[in-house]
């Protein structure tokens, strides 16, 4: 029986050291505005709290404890020095509305990060405020829409996304009030140009592309795609989910993308925090830069300051309460400072080397890469369809069994068009020994699937819980303890 913190609670017990003041003589608030019963928060000692959450932490796989080759998520080492840099009192205690005269330190970091990201992506201007990749996507879609509206081009209501695209792409299109139109991907993982020509037209607002794509291959015909879409009057949006694959080797701006976002929690190694926070800065070429959100940071002879709507009248406006996830931006800045230009090029070099090496090892052992004739990028997809057909053991079973071998599973069933898919991203910070051990585990599990399939189908066996019933979780919805 799992004990929640509420099971440990006892009336009137408390963490006494956290007491501030009590017994204020007069309560200045009107009686009818007051709460009648206290909230049901846990009543525990400080040690109970510390022990409870420490023990919860120990039930997690994480980069710090396990190889975590979650494709498309870039689970690489998050440097501790960078965490310390952002957790300094001066940064933590700065109120967001402190006047710029007393904020020059943080503004200098943000301004330099804007410039650095412009250099890395080949864009004219960067705005740092979007708080995650999905919000960066929304920003891009809204900027494209604003541009067309500005040009009285009101018929452009469609945005093209490849069938293999991440779910956030079509969901973003809807949020922006645009209609997602799908374009086919060919047998080699590239966008099908004939299909693209059929979809583009006077209604095309733009296209959202990831490159390397979500199929984990480089989109070789990017120039042709760009020409087709631009010739039709549409714009190109670059989803920066996979920028780490080409960091310092090819820039989206040079591929004719008009607007893009970066996932700093991927390429720039900021911690994923069990689901966030992220940061999704957006860059744009000269054409779209006027539409970037506010605020942005500027540098004048009087020091650093903010650019707001009053000086950026075409901006799509504000997207957060203050200035986005500044703490994450500071981490990305500190990380990039440690890497420098060569370090950035080594990110793409070794991420790609590791992915290609692991793909080769798995393919030598009889596994089936989804695109066997293509180079892996920073990640690669394999299909376990044949294994599933032969043994009844699915990609999900493989994933659960990997946990018992001490590896977090790769991303499963994504992209959707690859059956029984594993998307595997080892990242540049893993050793050859770790990759070899992972390949050996996959080989061992394949053997188990052939000789004792139930062992794999019933996995995991060595985790805090066995395989959990997700259907029951939906049918008998239990989302609070009270």
């Amino acid at each position: 029986m799992v004990e929640t913190i509420f099971d440990k609670s006892r009336p009137t017990r408390r963490a006494v050291a956290q007491r501030v003041k009590e017994g204020f003589a007069q309560q200045p608030l009107p009686e009818h505005q007051l709460r009648s019963a206290p909230p049901m928060l846990p009543e525990v000692s400080e040690l109970q709290a510390v022990r409870h959450f420490t023990n919860l932490a120990r039930k997690n796989f994480s980069i710090d404890t396990h190889f975590y080759p979650l494709g498309s998520c870039t689970m690489k080492y998050n440097p501790r020095g960078v965490h310390r840099a952002a957790m300094q009192e001066g940064f933590l205690n700065r109120h967001p509305l402190t006047p710029t005269s007393h904020s020059q330190g943080v503004l200098a970091c943000l301004f330099e990060l804007q410039e650095l990201l412009q250099n890395v992506t080949g864009t004219a201007q960067v705005c740092l405020t979007p708080m995650a990749g999905a919000q960066g996507e929304l920003t891009g879609a809204l900027m494209i829409k604003a541009y067309h509206t500005d040009n009285n081009d009101h018929e452009r209501t469609e945005i093209i996304v490849p069938t293999a695209a991440h779910g956030t792409n079509p969901a973003t299109a809807s949020m922006a009030g645009l209609i997602a139109k799908e374009v086919e991907v060919d047998a080699d993982g590239d966008v099908d140009l004939e299909s693209l020509k059929r979809v583009v037209g006077p209604k095309t607002a733009g296209i959202m592309l990831t490159n390397p794509s979500t199929c984990a291959v480089f989109e070789r015909r990017i120039q042709a795609i760009s020409d087709i879409v631009h010739d039709a009057g549409g714009l190109l949006y670059y989803d920066g989910a996979n920028l780490n694959a080409i960091l310092g080797r090819a820039r989206p701006g040079d591929m004719q993308f008009d607007v893009l976002h970066l996932n700093l929690h991927k390429t720039f190694a900021t911690p994923h925090g069990g689901g966030g926070p992220g940061a999704g800065p957006v860059g744009a070429n000269e054409l779209l830069a006027p539409y970037l959100p506010t605020p942005m940071v500027t540098k004048t002879e009087n020091g650093y300051g903010w650019l707001d709507r009053s000086v950026r009248p075409k901006s799509i406006g504000r997207l957060s309460s203050f200035m986005g996830n500044v703490g994450i931006l500071l981490r990305a800045y500190a990380y990039s400072m440690m890497l420098g230009a060569n370090g950035m090029r080594n990110v793409s070099a070794y991420a790609t080397l590791n992915a290609n090496y692991l793909m080769k090892r798995l393919s030598n052992a009889g596994f089936h890469p989804a695109y066997p004739d293509r180079r892996a990028t920073h990640e690669f997809a394999i299909s376990l369809r044949q294994e599933a057909k032969a043994t009844g053991v699915t990609a999900m079973d493989f994933a659960k069994r990997l946990l018992d071998y001490g590896f977090h599973a790769p991303t499963t069933y994504f992209p959707l068009l690859i059956p029984e898919c594993f998307l595997i991203e080892p990242t540049e910070t893993e050793t050859k020994e770790e990759l070899d051990a992972f390949a050996d585990a996959m080989i061992a599990i394949l053997k188990e699937a052939q000789t004792d399939p139930d062992l794999v189908k019933q996995a995991p066996h060595q985790q805090p819980v066995g395989r959990l019933d997700e259907v029951q979780a939906v049918r008998q919805l239990d989302v609070t303890a009270h």
Partner: protein, 445 residues
Amino acid sequence: MPFIPHTHADKESMLETLGIASIADLFDEIPDRIKCDSLPDIPDGISEMAMLHHMAHRAQEDASGVCFLGAGCYDHYIPAAVWDIASRGEFLTAYTPYQAEASQGTLQLVYEFQTMLASLTAMDVANASVYDGASALAEAILMAVRVNRKSKSRRVLVPASLHPSYLATVRSIVTHQGIELELMTSHEGLTAVSDVDLENAVAVVVQHPNFLGLLEDVDVLTNRAHDVDALVIGVVNPMSLALLKPPGDWGDTGADIVCGDGQPLGIPMASGGPSFGFLCTRMIHVRQLPGRIAGRTQDKDGNHGFVLTLQAREQHIRRAKATSNICTNQGLLVTAATIYMTLLGPQGLHEIASSCVHNTHRLVDRLTELPNVSMRFATPYFHECVLDFGESTEALQQRMLDNGILPGYPLTGLIDKGDQAMLVCATEVRTEQDIDRYYQELTNG
């Protein structure tokens, strides 16, 4: 090569396995025309020591003094254990709990978080958080329009005393789905909703305490909105709910959706982010609630465990028809907030909220002893108050800043004669000496 473990021998052996001569060969599918072979404008890398030295210098530049600023971000004390534990690698460097069996720590914590938020707001369910308070309100409005089947209207009423950045953010996000935002009339800083306003409204937003720190008549607003079948969206400061009537109890039947920013619950101010936004609602609307939700279930042996549930609402399944494009939550901040609420408990949170109310009232009483300083609105307030300084606050603010005091948020352009007014706040960390210093600096001017 910082953080890259490969020895020369590793690299050679891996290239040999691949049958290629150099790493450059791995990029041969990228057309030469778009390749770049260097990043000339980016400097060389530096060591951790040098980086930390540089960052320490930058952080020290911003040491800005005693904080009487609030306006949506608050200077609360954070117990040592909160970030000690939240910074553990198992929380810090995990990701969205896709593999539930290997993520029970994060999932159980989110479940406990949902329980605490639902109880604080007196609602049935909470999600695992969204980006921040402003974006939470945008999501709440989109959700309200989806769930209100009694109204085909897309007209949403927002108070004039809503946080201005929230209003701006909501405007950027929701108007693209054909939603019209209309400001309600206000009187003496409080929302004075009229029958004309309410006609054909699909939802009514109530911020409480409002941006000016004032307590709205939430019972009346809620009932009037419900009378015309509009949904009520409450925007609240979670700290205030230790004392104030929770949105679930507003009026006869309570608010329908509740959102806000979680920063007061153990999150450093940190220039305003990362923080987290929370979203709570009634069970009948749970399938339209955006974002991640953790649920309790069982494994095959009947052991309890936790999973992400109701995923059929989300972008990775529903794609263009998802409730939102949001893909993550603000997991790390939710971790900190859950530990914070646990360490404080109901009594501790009550004391801190009371202390904030007490300190701000002390500050206001003291400063209004001065003949030129007065309260702008004669209405009950929580832990923020609009003070009129009888003259432009610009020079005053600069002088105070130079003397190590952040005196408040200037309201220029936000209210009538805003250039003479500031929104001030004194949380539990402000002492009688701090308040006295503020008073002395004012009298010195």
